[in-house]
């Protein structure tokens, strides 16, 4: 027995699957993903909404999972870094991040990837200024953002090309 409140049953939609788990109702989405669903790809650097490392997509919009309660995310589609790739085929932002060297330690990377995925999945190719603005809520201490911006621009171009071919 502990001081934590009784667990409740959470019904979540994560990366296209319906999942259930018993968790304390005061847990953040970040904690439930990492600790109860074993999806440790989502990281944390502050748990106060300051760094962006915990960014996931909720209904395709970037959300700081450290500030969201899991219980509130129940009716929504959640996407994490584990759900970005299409089977063995990497998402264009993942492919570009790897190629460009946009992940150094790689710890901020899942957060950036989710922010970037939301951006590039919209039609059109964002300018560098738009990219800089979109990722301004994600902190990276390794890269100086240079290669992250390069990677997002590359992914956006590739997606646009693929869309025109299709």
């Amino acid at each position: 027995m502990t001081v934590a409140p009784e667990k409740i049953l959470l019904r979540l939609h994560v990366n296209g699957s319906a999942v259930q788990c018993a968790a304390h109702p005061n847990k953040t989405l970040l904690e439930v993903l990492r600790e109860d669903l074993n999806l440790t790809g989502t990281k944390h650097g502050c748990e106060m909404g300051h760094c962006g490392a915990c960014t996931v997509l909720v209904d395709d919009e970037p959300v700081l999972s450290c500030l969201a309660l899991a219980i509130e995310a129940q009716e929504h589609e959640i996407r994490t870094v584990e759900g970005l790739a299409d089977g063995p085929k990497l998402h264009p932002v993942q492919q570009a991040f790897a190629e460009c060297g946009a992940a150094q330690c790689g710890y901020c990377t899942p957060g950036f990837l989710m922010t970037a995925a939301a951006l590039v999945e919209r039609p059109g190719v964002p300018t560098n200024a738009v990219i800089r603005d979109a990722i301004s809520g994600n902190l990276c201490r390794c890269t100086g953002y240079e290669k992250i911006i390069e990677a997002i621009a590359l992914a956006a171009r590739r997606m646009e090309e693929a869309a025109t071919h299709a």
Binding site: G41, R141, E146
Partner: protein, 821 residues
């Protein structure tokens, strides 16, 4: 191979220089260890080294597959939390844990009395304990550690621990630390103040140097303290098995030091402890020594028999700190009319925070590398580190050399202006020469400083712009140098600084075991590239096992920019021995001498007739049949470089990297706001092993320097860190960071692996003074302290123009008010 064509390759020679057949792998190793010589490097022939491309671990990083320390969960685990002091300086009268212990879900609580062992990363200052025994020395100093079934309960329990303090006067500044009427943080009967370390060194005839100077410049500078703020909060998982072995998974840059100190603190044989360094989510020097939470988790895992995880909150990361020391400088430089330096006297005062950490080394480093960038014929250095009631300072990227660089490069521009010299040409003229020795006995080998200055200034058209841009726009240059690993280990020993084992599988795969820690700097890919180049395979054929004290030979760790040079050389040593064995057996098959065997493109062939070849797999099997299992050891010990004086151990390095930065800024003359528009940085990396990675290191260094130049601060109020969070502690976002252009300069260092030097730290150093010099160019006034804030810009402009009022004069419309109708 990424490149399918067969490049020309180096040949395998018997390292002993004769063709004496070797009879076994073991014998081969011992023979080879005596005289490691390598095939001559042919830059045009490299098939892996020098190519750009993704790092080996990029793909697992972008999918979230890698497990960092906090991503490890074990069955039946406990969560640990540390109770930290609320007082800056106090005696602990009583700690009552009974209420906390009675809380359901709490499994154990320990305090300082349970582990009363002093330790310290430097053997010369063992002044820390896992938890305070009787005195707390900063807000955040650990007092107790609770483990519970879940995190919430552990947190709740902290609130129930009662601590009774007897407050002591807090020492919160360098000035206060030098006073004799305040209590000592660490009782020292030989002193009456809080000085931790004093250094006084003099080289050459300093008095004569100043006497012969035409001009003497004297300035004072202050470099503000900053912190690393890696995005990964420190974390550790400790497990004590039924076999009585302790395993620690720690977010550490230095698994070996944690291993050593855990053994000492826990009173366990090191053979019963295994330290594993999973991928580290950024270090920058902040994870280079054993931390209280790591040792407490280990202790509690042993005590409870259950796995214990402790992950620091972001606030605690600010308390764990070991960040950049705030330093005050007095800098006196004598020059001839043409700018030639005749003597330098540098005095530094370091605010060390509450404990020693690496501080003794930091103190030396504020003076040691002054002479490695420009020629200084006579040099005097006085350093002084003090204890204050703040989180302990330690090494941050550039360790102790970043702060004086700000002072030196700032003053150098001032000298150039006063003497009417072009600041770039001037720097080139006084730059140290390759293959020279400094006045304090440091051996300089390869040096691309002049090339770096040329590259950065030409790219930015610096000479056309400096002093000629409109007011409010500026361009600034600065240069620097850095170590490729400290020449001496931090604890005295005669063993190698790095070891490696290379094992060749009969399936063609190669595994390297290296004690390094991968903190994002790319050590894994560097090792794979060096081994792939040596054996003619693809980097993807190389599997790198790192940072595991049970499996990997010791490497002292990922700090001091030592990994490429030292671990790289060790890996190359081991791989060369494997190559030699494979070459011997292949040579027998080809019926030629082993010096005619080449390796490239996953093939082994007769250099005289490339048709005569076999796959690397066939060659590996042939070698295994001939010699037995192919597993070779390598190691690296730097040459003896230290001169004969006390303190000479800090500063020597087997090589120095060089950098030059040019910053271009716009300053709003009304608000003082600074916009850095671009930073161009040229870096002499010796030889670039992977351009993507070297550029990444340069860009990261530039970015980190930018934050220190413009925004990062370490403020305290009433004994407390004022801003221990990532919102108030400003680090540059993507909107604050300008485009960065990295220029790689190669000098082919004779002792570096394939000629390589470091890129992880050096590029940060010139960035801060380059920005300072650019701002000075824009506002025609100099700012002598970091960070360079809008407020300081306005004040400096006021001081330069002799005004004190910045606000515009209040006026009313000149036309009379219309008469109401």
């Amino acid at each position: 191979m990424r490149e399918q064509e067969l490049p020309s390759v180096s040949t395998a020679t018997n390292p002993d220089g004769d063709a004496r057949p070797l009879t076994s792998a073991v014998e081969a190793s011992s023979v080879l260890r005596r005289a490691p010589q390598y095939p001559p490097d042919k830059p045009e022939g490299f098939s892996v080294v020098g190519k750009a491309g993704p790092k080996l671990d990029s793909f697992t990083r972008v999918t979230g597959q890698d497990r960092f320390a906090d991503d490890i969960f074990l069955p039946n685990m406990l969560f640990g939390k540390m109770l930290r002091s609320t007082q800056a300086h106090a005696r602990i009268l009583r700690i009552d844990t009974s209420k906390a212990l009675a809380l359901p879900g709490v499994v154990a609580i320990v305090t300082g009395a349970d582990i009363p062992v002093r330790y310290g990363i430097l053997p010369s200052s063992p002044d820390e304990m896992v938890m305070a025994l009787d005195t707390v020395r900063y807000v955040g100093d650990p007092i107790a550690c609770v483990v519970a079934d879940d995190e919430l309960t552990a947190e709740e329990a902290l609130a129930l621990v009662q601590v009774e303090y007897e407050p002591l006067p807090a020492v919160m500044s360098i000035d206060e630390a030098l006073r004799t009427d305040l209590p000592q943080l660490h009782p020292n009967p030989r002193r009456t103040n809080n000085i931790h370390k004093e250094v006084h060194l003099e080289f050459g005839d300093v008095e004569a140097g100043f006497a012969s100077a035409d001009r003497i410049f004297e300035d004072e500078y202050f470099f503000e303290g900053t912190t690393h703020a890696p995005i990964e909060q420190h974390a550790v998982m400790a497990q004590y098995g039924a076999d009585q072995k302790l395993t620690l998974w720690a977010a550490t840059q230095t698994p070996h030091y944690l291993h050593r100190i855990a053994a000492a603190v826990l009173g366990m044989p090191a053979s019963q402890i295994r330290v594993i360094a999973p991928p580290v989510g950024g270090g920058f020097g902040g994870k280079t020594e054993p931390f209280a939470h790591e040792l407490a988790a280990a202790f509690l895992a042993r005590k409870t028999g259950r796995p214990v995880k402790i992950t620091l909150t972001r606030q605690e990361v600010f308390y764990a700190h070991r960040g950049r020391h705030p330093v005050r400088f007095k800098l006196k430089t004598g020059v001839k009319a043409d700018g030639t330096i005749t003597a330098i006297h540098l005095q530094s005062w370091l605010d060390g925070g509450a404990y020693g950490s690496y501080g003794v080394a930091t103190t030396y480093y504020t003076g040691a590398l002054t002479t490695v960038t420009y020629k200084v014929p006579a040099y005097k250095f006085d350093g002084c580190r003090v204890f204050t009631n703040k989180p302990p300072c330690g090494p941050k990227r550039g360790h102790g050399t970043t702060q004086p660089r700000f002072a030196l490069e700032n003053q150098l521009d001032k000298i150039a202006d006063a003497l009417g010299l072009d600041a770039a040409e001037y720097r080139k003229r006084i730059a140290v020469d390759p293959n020279s020795t400094t006045v304090n006995g440091l051996r300089v080998t390869s040096c691309g400083l002049r090339e770096c200055i040329d590259a950065a200034t030409e790219r930015t058209r610096y000479k056309e712009k400096r002093g000629k841009l409109a007011r409010g726009r500026g361009i600034g240059l600065a240069a620097s140098s850095y170590l490729c690993g400290a020449g001496l280990p931090i604890y005295w020993n005669a063993m190698p600084q790095s070891g490696a084992i290379v094992k060749v599988d009969r399936g063609g795969g190669v595994t390297v075991l290296s004690g390094t820690s991968e903190c994002g700097q790319g050590s894994t890919s560097m090792l794979a590239a060096i081994i792939a180049e040596t054996l003619g395979v693809d980097p993807s054929d190389v599997s790198v096992c790192y940072g595991d004290t049970d499996l990997t030979p010791v490497d002292l760790g990922s700090y001091s920019s030592r990994v490429t040079f030292m671990a790289g050389n060790a890996a190359r040593d081991a791989a060369s021995k494997a190559r030699h064995l494979i070459a011997q057996s292949a040579a027998e098959r080809f019926g030629v001498g082993p010096d005619r065997v080449g390796f490239a493109g996953r093939r082994v062939f007769d250099l005289g007739n490339r048709e005569r070849s076999m796959t690397f797999i066939e060659a590996a099997q042939l070698a295994e049949a001939r010699w037995g299992t192919i597993a070779c050891v390598g190691s690296y010990t730097p040459p003896k470089l230290a001169a004969e004086y006390k303190g000479s151990g800090v500063g020597p390095s087997p090589a120095y990297s060089y950098s030059a930065a040019v910053a271009e800024v716009a300053v709003d003359l009304e608000t003082g706001e600074i916009t850095v528009e671009k930073i161009t940085l040229a870096h002499d990396v010796g030889r670039c092993i992977n351009a993507t990675n070297v550029e990444g290191q340069i860009e990261g260094g530039v970015y980190m320097g930018l934050g220190e130049a413009l925004m990062e601060e370490w403020p305290f109020r009433a004994g407390e860190h004022k801003i221990p969070n990532l919102l108030d502690y400003k680090t540059p976002t993507s909107l604050d960071t300008p485009p960065i252009e990295a220029i790689i300069v190669e000098t082919d260092d004779k002792e570096g692996p394939f000629g390589a030097k470091e890129a992880g730290q050096g590029p940060l150093n010139p960035v801060i003074p380059a920005i300072a010099n650019a701002v000075a160019d824009a506002i025609r006034a100099r700012i002598h302290s970091t960070p360079i804030t809008p407020e300081k810009v306005l004040k400096a402009m006021d001081a330069a123009s002799g005004t004190t009022l910045r606000l515009k004069k209040v006026t009313t419309p000149s036309k009379p008010s219309p008469v109401p109708v």
